[in-house]
């Protein structure tokens, strides 16, 4: 059986008295898009933050290609981190930098590319996401939907191997939402990155994902293919995907 690219083993996390993750076991495979679904407040974003290392588990382990992140040497951990990219739920754009500077920042800080090359890449990405003529604007001067797309451009500009998307299409109109989904799929096919998406866009995400995991009360209650979840008999899963209480 194929070894998971990222494996979460019995991951638990508590904030104060609120136990958010209660023993998460999840496998993410290389070159696949895995979508995490579940009710709001069940710990999906917390789970994503554990994968990128913004949060550390209270107990349990996160393995990358079989190696524990906790036990990994600092150098190896840094090398691994440079393969990641993360798109935040609230965009998390730098409000004192222009759109262009926001997207160019990871390239400017992490690569040795020349200014002209960076400019070309950024403008190319802006065009692909239908964000023309806003490169000199500040995030507060553009709409929420545009901010989301700028955040997506920033996440993809370094051609990462693993991209974590935290609700990438929330607040977008249906046309833009489809465009973002299309872009996630196209880029995945082109560059073959492994993606983890937290999303509520049911059934749209079934078309772009290879695996679906459902989180409920801090536990994974379903893990399988989009076809499997659509044919799942478990009441909890059925109710959620059909939008019933």
């Amino acid at each position: 059986m194929e070894q998971p690219f990222i494996k979460l083993e019995n991951v638990c996390k508590t904030f104060g008295t609120n136990q958010v993750l209660r023993g998460i076991n999840l496998s993410i495979f290389k070159g696949e898009i895995t979508t995490i679904i579940g009710k709001s407040g069940t710990g999906k974003s917390v789970l994503l933050k554990h994968i990128i290392g913004l949060l550390s588990p209270d107990s349990g382990d996160i393995l990358f290609e079989g190696h524990s992140l906790r036990l990994m040497p600092k150098k190896k951990r840094k090398a691994l981190k440079s393969k990641f990219s993360y798109m935040f739920q609230g965009a998390a754009l730098f409000d004192s930098l222009t759109v262009f500077e926001n997207i160019a920042l990871p390239l400017k800080e992490r690569s040795v590319l020349k200014k002209n090359k960076i400019k070309k890449l950024v403008l190319e990405k802006l065009q692909q996401l239908d964000l023309n003529d806003i490169e000199n604007k500040y995030p507060s001067q553009i709409s929420g939907g545009m901010q989301k797309r700028v955040a997506l451009a920033r996440a993809l500009i370094t051609n990462p191997e693993i991209v974590l998307f935290d609700e990438p299409t929330t607040g977008l109109d249906p046309i833009r939402k489809n465009a973002v989904h299309q872009m996630i799929t196209d880029y995945q096919k082109k560059f073959g990155y492994s993606g983890v998406i937290v999303s509520h866009e049911i059934p749209d995400i079934f078309d772009i994902s290879q695996r679906i995991a459902m989180l409920d009360h801090g536990k994974i209650v379903f893990e399988g293919s989009p076809e499997q979840i659509q044919n799942c008999d478990t009441a909890l899963v059925r109710q959620f995907i059909s939008g019933q209480e």
Binding site: I52, L54, S85, G90, A92, L93, F94, D95, R110
Partner: protein, 267 residues
């Protein structure tokens, strides 16, 4: 049994009140070293350093000149009336210059920079924290401390001594305005006493103080903003407000404490 529990709880809270400030000092020290070691890491962040020299240094010139002039003028007035009691008005130049160069210059300019730039940087970093911008830096594999704190630290190390020197010069001129032009001390005597009384050790002592103040002020202000989210007394915008207040108050108090410690070593 209840009596025993209340004693235990009092002892625990007493212990916490001792341990927490020590822990906080330890965290600030670690934060400082994390920022300081990146001064020597490449590539240097030259454009960011220049940007912060402009913000901390150039934009503080006016307020430092203004406070320097009035501090010197007050010293001129107070010094004249006190010295005239002993018939020593001629020593006014020495009194004004030494007070400014040794004490008032470094301390007052540091306090002015705290109120103008320190509060702003604490609020800026605090907002970046609560809006996940610092987390975004982390996810982009950009060291947030190196990116946000180190350039400010270098800029302060450049700006503080220059602003202190400016404060001293303007202050001495302020003392001249009140002592010589208003109260009639011969200007040649005023400047000759300035010249003869100020030694190189006084000047270097003032600069040493300003360098220490720069390190303390930037570390404390950035630390308060950087850890806004861990505050127990307020979250979000309220947390940023409280962090800014803490940054200004703690920095001012630390400037005075460090000034005392350094003076006792330098004298």
């Amino acid at each position: 049994m209840e009596y025993f529990a209340s004693i235990t709880s009092s002892l625990a809270s007493l212990g916490r009140s001792v341990i927490e400030p020590v822990q906080q000092m330890g965290k600030i020290a670690i934060f400082f070293f994390r920022a300081f070691i990146h001064i020597f890491s490449f590539p240097q962040q030259l454009s960011k350093i220049i940007e912060h020299v402009y913000f901390i240094g150039a934009k503080s010139v006016f307020v430092v000149c203004l406070t320097g002039a009035f501090t010197g003028m007050v010293l001129g007035l107070q010094g004249y009336y006190n010295l005239s009691k002993f018939g020593s008005e001629g020593a006014l130049g020495a009194v004004v210059a030494l007070t400014l160069i040794r004490e008032m210059g470094p301390v007052m300019s540091a306090i002015m920079i705290i109120s103008r730039a320190g509060s702003a940087m604490s609020a800026e970093i605090g907002i970046m924290r609560i809006s996940e911008q610092i987390d975004a830096l982390f996810t982009m594999d950009i060291n947030p401390v190196r990116f946000l704190v180190t350039p400010r630290l270098i800029a302060a190390l450049i700006s503080f001594p220059i602003l202190t020197a400016l404060f001293d010069v303007i202050g001495i001129f302020g003392g001249y305005l009140t002592g010589s032009l208003m109260l009639g001390i011969n200007s040649a005597i005023y400047y000759s006493r300035v010249n003869s009384s100020v030694l190189m050790e006084d000047v270097s002592g003032g600069f040493i103080k300003s360098i220490f103040f720069a390190l303390f002020v930037i570390t404390i202000c950035c630390f308060q903003g950087y850890y806004t989210h861990t505050r127990k007394d307020g979250f979000g915008a309220k947390g940023v407000g409280l962090a800014t207040t803490s940054a200004v108050v703690t920095s001012c108090v630390m400037v005075l404490i460090v000034d005392y410690v350094l003076t006792s070593f330098l004298l």
